[in-house]
């Protein structure tokens, strides 16, 4: 039935992201509410990614504006082979790159991948026994605490949320962008690689650094709270 509905439409839609279909058709029909809701949802993440390329907020805002103009212009050609969000982000990165070049700024995202900080450990090495330990080399010196007993209500508190937001904000730009796109915006790794021109491996390293640091911040906060 879905297939029938799709073949009955004039738009050359593929089945990959059926949920996007309604949104795209609403936009094509000029539905302002659908447009505003999409723009609101994507404003901050688009702005953040634009900032990486152009480095200043005012220019990034213009890039986001230009992106939406590009989206609307391209809407009739959108075929749904990628998700709508991925397609919009690709328009953004292309717009941002063009703009950055025009302003004499070239910051390919892959160069930012150098921010992976060689040798940066996920966990403080002091937490482990030395490699020369007779029985347990490289084993935990003291185990990480189990969070299983922490009431969900506490984990979902605004204090914990603030700790996480602060930890995410403190990350280098490339790590921050990857963790935001992956874990907050819900893009998969393939989409993030496409949006940011990253290899799968680089994307994973950035995600690993980012998640590890947020976990550390959370661990530190929850440990202090326990003592209190």
């Amino acid at each position: 039935m879905l297939r029938e509905a799709i073949s009955g439409s004039n738009s050359p839609f593929v089945l990959a992201y059926p949920a996007d279909r309604r949104v795209v058709e609403a936009l094509r029909a000029g539905d302002e509410e659908a447009f505003t809701s999409l723009v609101t949802e994507l404003y901050s993440p688009l702005l953040r990614v634009a900032m990486i390329y152009v480095g200043n907020r005012a220019v990034a805002e213009e890039v986001v504006q230009e992106t939406w103009v590009g989206v609307l212009r391209g809407l009739d050609r959108f075929e749904g082979r990628s998700s709508l969000k991925t397609w919009i982000f690709r328009i953004l990165t292309n717009t941002a790159k063009t703009r950055a070049e025009r302003e004499g700024r070239t910051v390919p995202f892959s160069a930012l991948a150098g921010e992976t900080e060689e040798g940066e450990a996920a966990v403080d090495p002091e937490r482990f026994l030395g490699a020369d330990h007779a029985a347990w080399p490289g084993h935990w010196a003291t185990y990480p605490a189990s969070w299983a007993e922490i009431p969900e209500q506490r984990l979902l508190s605004s204090e914990v949320r603030a700790v996480i937001e602060e930890a995410v904000e403190a990350l280098p730009a490339s790590q921050r962008t990857v963790i935001r796109l992956r874990d907050i915006e819900g893009f998969n790794s393939e989409e993030v690689c496409g949006i940011l021109d990253l290899s799968e491996g680089n994307q994973r390293v950035l995600l690993h650094r980012a998640r590890s640091k947020v976990r550390r911040a959370l661990e530190a906060y929850l440990a202090v709270e326990e003592e209190a």
Binding site: G30, E32, F35, T36, V39, T40, E41, Y43, S44, P45, E61, V64, Q65, W68, V69, L72, R73, A121, A122, V123, P125, F128, P137, G138, H139, W140, Y143, P144, A145, S146, W147, A148, L155, L156, V160, R161, I164, E165, V168, I179, D183, I184, G186, S189, E200, R204, L207, H208, R211, S212, V214, R215, L218, E219
Partner: protein, 82 residues
Amino acid sequence: MNATDDITCRELVELVTDYLEGALPPAERARFEEHLVHCAGCLDYLEQMRTTIALVGRITERDLPPEAERAFLDAFRRWKAG
């Protein structure tokens, strides 16, 4: 089991993302899971990472400055008017 084949806890924490992403080669994945069977510390660590990811996922930003919203809507109306 040969001790030199085992991954240490210190190594395991660096493999957690590859593990969760399904990016570990089968042999390494097996060693990772074998380690978890014997190591409560690493099991808790993995759970901490899963919790962290879930909690990060709860952050949403939905702030659109009114002047930006107006500008976007203007662009939309111009586009509609063709």
